[in-house]
């Protein structure tokens, strides 16, 4: 009954919800698998930065980031409840069945970044697509030079993937810095926007031979960008993922087209230089 991808790109494959975990307020992580192991195998070829189309039957279909790395075993989504489909998603229970198709988009060209320094700057739920990058890079640790992660959230309660964060902070193979806008009683770390971490004593960010990944809310994006440009980072070496309203994910429905690029097929990963050339306000 389920067609191969060659036959019909719009038809999702059946998947089943395995486990749902409350991440932070209004954000849940959904662990799932494809019903057909063949689909699971085909899907696991994705790269960090790619996305999937997730269908809640009767609710609709949305484009959704992939927080897991292909090097991990389990597949999962993390979403904030903002629209009608994510609301339907948040009402799901383990055992519920839904549709997934993909992976789509270009993804981060992780192989091209070999023997470079990686700096990952994430704000709030911007960590979702970048989590994949971090896990992937750590799995292939020997391929990259220095790896630094800067992650900022509003409050300590808004920090996502807490278990990962704890592991990462202990990991001697790379540097992981956290910051919150507003501290609570238990918080011992940095207080301030994520950009304030860049100037902390002991933090040395290499400008040469470095790729910077930035994901986060627009305000954070603007300030981080100004900081990084001030430090001498080049537009060509800063990459981000764009978000647009999408219906098809395969370059047909037209909703995500910016300038001459379809975000779904030409993106969602663009360098800052490319984003500026698209010719529309992002």
């Amino acid at each position: 009954m389920i067609n191969s991808r060659e036959q019909n790109v719009y038809q999702p494959k059946m998947a089943v919800m395995e486990d749902i975990r409350e991440e932070i307020q209004d954000v849940k992580t959904f662990y799932w698998r494809f019903e057909n192991p063949e689909d699971q195998k085909a899907f696991k070829t994705f790269m960090p930065g790619q996305f999937a189309q997730m269908s809640v039957f009767g609710g609709g279909e949305i484009a959704i980031s992939l927080p897991p790395s292909p090097t991990e075993d389990r597949l999962f989504f993390t979403t904030r409840r903002v629209g009608s489909v994510t609301a339907a998603m948040h009402a799901m229970k383990p055992g519920d069945r839904f549709g997934v198709r993909g992976p789509y988009g270009n993804g981060f060209p992780m192989k091209d970044y070999a023997s470079r320094n990686l700096i990952i700057v994430a704000g709030g739920i911007g960590l979702i697509p970048l989590r994949s990058v971090i896990i992937y890079a750590l799995h292939h640790r020997e391929q990259y030079k220095k790896i630094q992660v800067f992650y900022g959230a509003r409050t300590p309660k808004d920090l996502m993937y807490v278990e990962n964060l704890q592991d990462w902070q202990k990991d001697p193979n790379f540097e992981c810095y956290l910051s919150v806008d507003r501290a609570d009683e238990g918080w011992k770390g940095n207080v301030g926007v994520v950009g304030s971490l860049f100037k902390k004593p002991g933090v040395h960010m290499p400008v040469e031979n470095t790729t910077v990944f930035i994901c986060g809310p627009p305000v954070m994006f603007r300030f981080v960008l100004a900081d990084l440009k001030g430090m001498g980072f080049d537009d060509r070496n800063m990459v981000s993922t764009l978000e647009r309203y999408m219906k098809c994910g395969v370059g047909k429905c037209g909703h995500c087209c910016i300038g001459v690029a379809y975000v779904c097929t030409d993106g969602p990963v663009f360098t800052l230089e490319q984003i500026q050339k698209l010719g529309e306000v992002i």
Partner: protein, 357 residues
């Protein structure tokens, strides 16, 4: 030349032959001045029109239905997906050259790139196209037409199965085959051999009908150059945007517009179907994301988008044709008079520094 002669009284016999194994759609007059494509039945067969104003609602819907079921789905524990295929063996009789070019554009878009649109492909591979050339300057062509500027008419050069043209000599039509399927029809007894005089007559009729076109869009190529090089300033797009009433009509009548939206609708307890339907970039919600952020909120941004998508050289390279076929429907539909020729004119006037229109 793969051409034959056919007597005008025999032309509709082609429809009869095609009806044996196709659903045939053809143009008719409505009750007023309106014209439309409809399925040919025994009852309306004799009312098929050869010469008439091009129907307003484009025949694009026979390859890309206005609303189309994609699949049916059962939710709940025994969830499953059942694909829908609403395509059928169909022939369009009397499609105009501009709309033939429109279908070719859709072919390039939906079938051309890394992903192939399966729904479109199924409709398209079962389609037989009988193009009728606009040859009567009084009836076939109206003031809004500009196919000669878009280089799609009045006689299509390719992408049809069979092309018919009234030679206006009181008796004959010249038929041209554009595919092997079309050529196969020439074995029918009512096709006769054409002579060099008939081909000459075809040329005369075509050059005569060209004189009918009045719309001054000879600035088309310059407009493409300006839009591609982003030489059209925001002020100009604001002029266009201020006139747009955001009805989306231009997209709905456009034979080359491709955008669609997708929606799930309930068809029973725990049963849904996913449908896709035409969408229009003029509409305010076109780019609005969950949570309400809309990157293209201002109307002139969305108008800029329409014309950029249609005329930028990058997309013309990608689809091998610009996404405008010169049918003139957007001119007729637009209450704000920002159809394609009008926008080309606005770009011309503002970029050469004339007074604002």
């Amino acid at each position: 030349m793969r051409g034959r002669l056919i007597h005008k009284d025999d032309v509709l016999k082609i429809v009869d032959v095609l009806r044996q194994d196709h659903e045939v759609v053809a143009p008719f007059y409505g009750r007023g001045r309106d014209t439309y494509f409809d399925v040919v039945t025994d009852a309306n067969r004799n009312a098929i029109q050869i010469h008439l104003p091009n129907p307003y609602y484009p025949p694009k819907r026979y390859v890309l239905p206005h609303i189309q079921r994609m699949f049916k789905v059962k939710a709940g524990t025994d969830a499953g997906i059942e694909p829908c295929d609403e395509s059928r063996k169909r022939a369009i009789f009397g499609i105009r050259s501009c709309d033939v070019a429109g279908i070719f554009h859709l072919d390039r878009f939906y079938l051309g790139k890394e992903y192939r649109d399966d729904y479109y492909a199924k409709f398209r591979e079962k389609l037989f196209i009988v193009n009728v050339v606009c040859s009567d300057p009084q009836i076939d062509v109206d003031d809004d037409c500009f196919c000669v500027c878009a280089d799609t008419g009045t006689a299509a050069k390719d992408h049809f199965d069979l092309q018919l043209m009234d030679l206006h000599n009181g008796s004959d039509f010249l038929a041209v085959a554009g595919s092997a399927k079309g050529e196969a029809l020439f074995s029918l007894p009512f096709f006769k051999k054409a002579s060099a005089e008939h081909v000459q007559r075809r040329r005369e009729v075509l050059s005569e009908v060209r004189k009918r076109f009045k719309v001054a869009t000879s600035w088309y190529s310059a407009a493409i150059r300006f839009i591609t090089g982003r030489g059209v300033n925001d002020e100009t797009w604001k002029i266009v945007g201020d006139r747009c009433l955001e009805c989306g009509g231009c997209s709905y009548v456009c034979p080359a517009c491709t955008c669609f939206t997708v929606s799930d609708r309930k068809t029973g307890p725990d049963e849904y179907e996913r449908v896709r339907m035409w969408d229009a970039c003029a509409l305010g919600g076109f780019t609005r994301m969950a949570g309400g952020h809309n990157p293209r909120k201002a109307v002139h941004d969305r108008r800029n988008r329409r014309f950029f998508r249609k005329l930028a050289h990058y997309f013309m390279q990608r689809e091998l044709s610009m996404a405008c076929v010169g049918c003139g429907r957007c001119v007729s539909v637009c209450h704000g008079d920002v159809g394609m020729p009008s926008v080309v004119e606005i770009i011309r006037r503002t970029t050469v520094g004339e007074a604002k229109p």
